[in-house]
């Protein structure tokens, strides 16, 4: 953890903050800082304290010790109205006001700016409309808030926060309940808002792959501590993620953001000859059928490796951009001997994978069953 809490440009800074419930600290000594237009994402398993930290920032929960600085001012010493002009929230609490249309709901964000009776001025109306426009929700402005879809509701909640004209927006799991398209849309809006309007964003996400792509800073929250804090490049390694979430089965590929289940156990029955992406559907099909297999020989820089490594029992690979050694080819032949079936994934043949043809020839000489298509694979009794 870096003690860089009070840098001069910080929009939001947490200085040795301890958060928890009923005076019992859950996570102590949190030091984080966020500059203008930056996106900070809290990731971590369910119940790890992401929401607790966010609630302490937004003052929905009294922090136990330490300070939150908003624009370099201690938030304890700023009035609720002033905070409302600088910091807006999107919460997970499900609100269902009766008979309130989306426009009315969003316009509640103008609360800190309106007069005694909360009447909207034409300028307020413009701001509400432009907020609705930013989240592509102008068309549902007239709809009742309880009759819109989850994706629309999330956008309306965001529009409400935007029309508060804040410098910082705090969002608690804004993508939950959303399908993939709406997740991406929402994050696009957030990212655009941060870059174009200079609004700083703090949020918690469950989708680590999306978190990696959208965030400037990642905070790994693990139950009792901040396990890691830094840029996505610093944070995202297969190991950090596996450790953070305590993944014991399956795997997460930090580079691609892809998830694979754990490999099937038992004796190797299949040998898959792939390469250049041709092997991936076969690996996954075999994983689904629960058949242990070996994959090879893959060039060290082949994309098949990213799936073969987590799923295959054995993977034979060359050094990147190098031909296969004769030892490696012998090893492959041994594996083919022990398997009963060989899959030819139809990888294009070239200068550096001549061994594929050699291995196939070897397999047919040895009378192994050879499968050449996914259809063939599903017909074959696994």
């Amino acid at each position: 953890m870096k003690p860089d809490s009070k840098t001069a440009t910080a929009k939001l800074a947490l200085d040795h903050l301890s958060v928890g419930y009923n005076g019992v600290p859950l996570i102590s000594d949190i030091c984080l800082s966020l500059s203008k237009g930056e996106i900070m994402t809290l990731i971590g398993p369910n119940g790890s304290g992401k929401t607790t930290i966010l609630k302490s920032i937004t003052r929905h929960l009294a922090s136990i010790s330490g300070t939150v600085y908003l624009d370099e001012r201690n938030m304890r010493l700023i009035s609720g109205k002033e905070i409302a002009e600088k910091l807006a929230v999107v919460l997970t609490e499900r609100v269902r006001p009766e008979l309130m249309n989306c426009f009315e709901f969003v316009s509640a964000g103008r609360y800190p700016y309106t007069g005694t009776f909360g009447t909207l001025t034409p300028r307020d109306r413009e701001i509400v409309e432009s907020a609705l426009e930013k989240v592509n929700a102008l068309d549902i402005a007239d709809k009742d808030i309880s009759r819109i879809s989850d994706g629309q509701r999330q956008r309306i909640l965001l529009a409400r926060a935007i029309c508060q004209e804040p410098e910082v927006i705090v969002l608690d799991e804004p993508t939950s309940y959303l399908d993939i398209r709406h997740k991406i849309e929402l994050l696009e809006i957030l990212s655009g808002m941060a870059k174009n309007s200079g609004i700083s964003v703090v949020m918690s996400l469950h989708e680590i792959d999306l978190a990696e792509r959208i965030s400037d800073k990642i905070v790994c929250v693990k139950g009792d501590r901040i396990a890691a804090y830094g840029t996505p490049e610093e944070i995202f390694s297969d190991e950090t993620i596996k450790e953070l979430y305590g993944i014991s089965a399956g795997s997460f590929n930090a580079l691609l953001g892809s998830i694979e289940l754990s490999p099937p156990q038992g004796e190797i029955r299949f040998f898959v000859i792939g390469g250049a992406g041709s092997g991936i559907p076969y690996y996954r099909a075999l994983r689904k059928a629960g058949v242990p297999f070996a994959a090879g020989i893959l060039p060290g820089n082949d994309m098949d490796l990213s799936v073969a490594l987590p799923l295959a029992k054995t993977v034979l690979r060359t050094e990147p951009f190098m031909p296969a050694s004769s030892e490696l080819i012998d090893e492959a032949k041994k594996l083919i001997d022990s398997a009963d079936t060989v899959i030819d994934c139809g990888c294009p043949a070239g200068e550096f994978n001549r061994f594929n043809a050699e291995l196939l020839k070897y397999a047919s000489e040895r009378g192994k069953r050879i499968i050449r298509s996914l259809a063939g694979l599903s017909e074959a009794k696994l």
Partner: protein
């Protein structure tokens, strides 16, 4: 057909049918449409209210001609005749009291519904009226025992304290149970407990107390005096003003506590204010008219459905006005339907209000399923 399905309760307003139009045009139209709706609803309320008042002045055990009414009210003629006495000493104070207290009851219902964010909440359902009755019973018995008399002010104060106590009890439970439906059940239980205790007290009370209490507990606007009107106006109108002042934070509170807090609303202060206003209003009603059921739930709901908004700034005057109208009409029905016998006001309000609550439950379910 599609339109009536969307707004099932307002075929009256189907002139505002949605047509396919371009986006900015639609926004403009929506805006105008809403404003037009608000104007129409308020205009209808006012016209109906005036009509109801006119009818109430005219109809009764003595029917008085329109010309006589005009003479008595606006020219000061014949105020010492029978008709003049009936109008000025009996009907007019009664109508004004019914409007004030009806408005107060409906407004307190709206505030309580805002507070609990639950449209089924109301001063009667949550046991506030029963609390007032219990406390009033205790005080009446004690006072008649000690001083052999019960001044109006004591009635007001006793029922005020009683309703405030049961409101506080409800508040205490609010912190403990999260689900609003369990809170509602608790309110109904409190109401039963209070009624049981009141019955117990009545068993040990002497006859004159019982007459007082029974009269009180049936709820009625009869025997309204100008004195009653003055006192209740003095209580209700400032509370109405306070509600207006709280309308902005109340609007934010509708979004949920979390959002309200993030907007800078002082939640605790708002809650205390809401409880106080509700307590003042419902206890005033309890003191001067006794328990009146269902107005607090049904009327705000009707106004909300007609206005198609929950905005407090509109709902406060609308529910007050509609409550006044509703109570004047119900009172008229109570004293004329089976004349010369007079029904208790609750008999009429329940007969109309309870079906509205059932309709409310059904329409909410439909909404949730949609």
């Amino acid at each position: 057909m599609k339109n009536t399905a969307k707004y099932p309760h307002t075929s009256l307003f189907s002139i505002f049918a949605v047509k396919e139009v371009s986006l900015p045009e639609m926004k403009e139209k929506t805006n105008n449409r809403n404003t037009a709706r608000y104007c129409i609803v308020f205009a209808v309320f006012i016209i109906l209210f005036i009509a109801a008042v006119m009818l109430s002045i005219r109809i009764g055990s003595v029917n008085i001609s329109a010309k006589d009414i005009f003479d008595i009210l606006f020219r000061g003629d014949r105020s010492d005749t029978v008709a003049g006495n009936v109008i000025l000493k009996i009907r007019l104070p009664r109508i004004i009291l019914a409007s004030l207290l009806g408005g107060a009851l409906s407004l307190s219902g709206f505030l309580i519904q805002t507070f609990f964010r639950n449209p089924i909440a109301g001063p009667f359902v949550l046991g506030i009226s029963s609390g007032a009755k219990l406390f009033l019973a205790i005080v009446t018995i004690a006072m008649t025992g000690l001083f052999s008399g019960m001044p109006v002010s004591a009635t007001v104060i006793a029922s005020f304290i009683g309703s405030l106590l049961s409101m506080l009890l409800i508040l205490l439970f609010t912190g403990r149970v999260k689900s609003m439906s369990s809170l509602l059940v608790i309110g109904i239980m409190i109401s039963f407990i209070c009624s049981a205790l009141t019955d117990l007290l009545i068993n040990f009370a002497n006859d004159s107390d019982i007459v007082n209490l029974t009269h009180w507990s049936t709820g009625s606007f009869s025997a309204a005096t100008w004195q009653d009107v003055r006192i209740s106006a003095f209580i209700v109108l400032p509370a109405l003003l306070a509600a207006f002042i709280a309308s902005k934070p109340m609007g934010a509170y509708l979004l949920g506590e979390g959002y309200a807090k993030s907007l800078g609303v002082n939640i605790k202060a708002l809650r205390v204010l809401l409880v106080l206003i509700t307590g003042v209003l419902s206890s005033c009603v309890a003191a001067f008219a006794g328990p009146i059921s269902f107005v607090g739930i049904a009327v705000p709901h009707i106004s909300r459905q007609l206005l198609k908004t929950s905005k407090p700034i509109l709902m406060i005057p609308a529910s007050f006005l509609c409550g006044a109208l509703f109570c004047v009409l119900c009172d008229l029905a109570a004293r004329t339907l089976f004349s010369p016998a007079e029904l208790s006001i609750s008999t009429v309000t329940s007969a109309i209000g309870a079906p509205v609550v059932i309709w409310l439950m059904l329409s909410r379910r439909r909404q949730n399923e949609a």
